[in-house]
Amino acid sequence: MIEKILATVFFPGAIFILAVSLFYEWVDRKLYARFQNRVGPHLAGPFGLFQPIADLIKLLSKEDIVPMATDRFLFTLTPILAPALILFACMFLPVAGPSGIISFEGDLIAVIALLSIYTITVYLAGEGSNNRFASVGAVRAAVQLLGYEIPLTLSLLSVALAAGSLSIRGIVEAQAERGLWFIAGIQAIGFAIFIIASQAEMERIPFDIPEAEQEIVAGWEVEYSGKRLALFRLSKDLELFLLSGLGAAVFLGGPIGPVIPGLEPMLYTIYFILKSIIVLAIFTLVRALFARLRIDQMVSFSWRYLMPPAMILIILTEVIM
């Protein structure tokens, strides 16, 4: 029992996940800067490694402002709920072994459901702040959900179908048994769909429509400042870790790799982080390559170009199996 609690709190649980997701934010920012011919964070710590945590501490220490017109309940609830939901979803990731801290048959569906609840939290956060820009951003977030959620789910489900299991553990073990990652085959299409849909889930270019700075200032998070904003920023980092980790687990074989006996948990963790950084680098590359789409263009894009391949993929997977 005590082991279980320690695993949940320290490794590979909450503290580890928070530290790694802040590190991922650094990787993302540094890569993005290098793609743009900039230096990127370089002041706090070696190579600016501590910049994300410095930003977080700075935001946490700021004055806490609750504008009078806001819905106080939602304004307090959503910043706590958002990182909690994503952190909970991160517990399903197989970091130090083929199964996560929590694992059951159907946990893939649970992760997808948590991601959708997160988007609804975002909607509530925007509507609760009672600001014109925030309402527009919140509605955009909800409309965007209609676009990307189904392709994202279908791309993950087709892998589940191929593995014959609805649990992340089952998918990881199926790849270990086959000796081949799911990306090396027909599921590569699913991986591409997953990357694009995740970009929309994380509200990053070209789908950073709900928080488009140049159009609606900061969208749904415009009224949030200080520690509330810090918590939303943190939940974005956690989401980055969750989705790149999910991509690595489902398509790139998860933590499984050649091991030296006795060192499995450590090596598994290293493999998992390396693989998810590959997925993260693809996320960053996509972010550096495009302009922002309009919301109507985004929805029609995902129904025209993401849905049909996702449907065909699921049928093909069923036929091949």
Binding site: Q36, R132, S135, I205, P206, Q214, I216, F290, L293, Q297
Partner: protein, 397 residues
Amino acid sequence: MNFEVPIGPQHPIHVEPLMLRLKVEGELIVDADVDVSYIHRGIEKALELRPYIQGLYLVERICGICNAAQSLCYCLNVEQLLGKEAPPRARYLRIVVEELSRIHSHLLWLGHYLHTLGFETLFMYFWRDRERVMDMLELITGNRVTTAYNTIGGVRRDLPPGAEQKLRRTLDYIEERVRYYEKVIDSEPTILARTQRVGILKPGDAVRMGVTGPHLRASGIKHDVRLDDPYSGHDEIPFNVITWDTCDCYARVKVRLRETSECVNMIRYALDHMPSGDYRLKIPPFFKAPPGESLSRVEAPRGELVHYSISDGGDRPYRYRVRTPTLANLLSVVEMLRSRGDYEVYIADVPAILGGIDPCICCSARILITDEAKKRRMITTLDDIIRFSRGRRVERR
């Protein structure tokens, strides 16, 4: 969901105070209203209180980016009052600096425009290349931003030794990069999706609203002060007036990209055919201009810039008036923002449309507003303005 979205006076798309009141239904804009009068700087009044030579340095500060065009327009205006003309070498040097600053302005605009569309990477690339042009401006004029190059009767200094070689190298680099960027922009689906068929301004509407500059040329109308009224030896230099007839935001990007390479060719020609001789007339720093009126026009990077002055024979202008291109172009923004029929404008298009005219609000805020809603109109005559600004001296010659 029907409400008013205020874009401004403070908003991330433009650092300058501009108020756009948008009436929206969901994401669709049904009506728009524009107000620029947040930053009245009193530059015209300040010009009337200073000797001509001091006005030169003030007029450059109307706009940081088109400072070369502003000071050129001022110098042409005062030279016209004095009945003098700059020597040929000065005219060519003025063209070199004017076109260089046009390149820098267009690259700045292109980068900023892509930033407003959310394309951060190309924004960084454009501004990196712009830095090379800034270095060249520094090499030739001694200053990076506010060049202070033009002076009454010529230019302040000659081309420094060795500058021509470096300038030619930079021009080659810029030409190659612009060609590359044109390829990128033409093949990038997200940019095309955000600019094509967005912010359509038909040629007839453009003329009716007095639109100028690249914005007008993007509506397919061949109009350029350099061609229509060659003010600084532009009749001796061959160049093409770039037009594009799709009338949308994409056309504005294309026109400015093509103009940048056209500027490169103009500078090359000017360097090849640089006349020898003096680069400035000897004019004493303090002088009295003969009584009269004078109007000068310059094709600034953003469009047609007009300076008008009245002299009463003193050592400072009696009245000075500046009409900046942004003021002429702003009216068309309201027209482009109104959805009508199949032409639908979304909140997401506001940065694309407003950015498309290359707004520079601080240059423009010197107008009086008529308030239609309150049925209040303020008609102000020139005499009224002079009475406001000078107290008793109402009589005109």
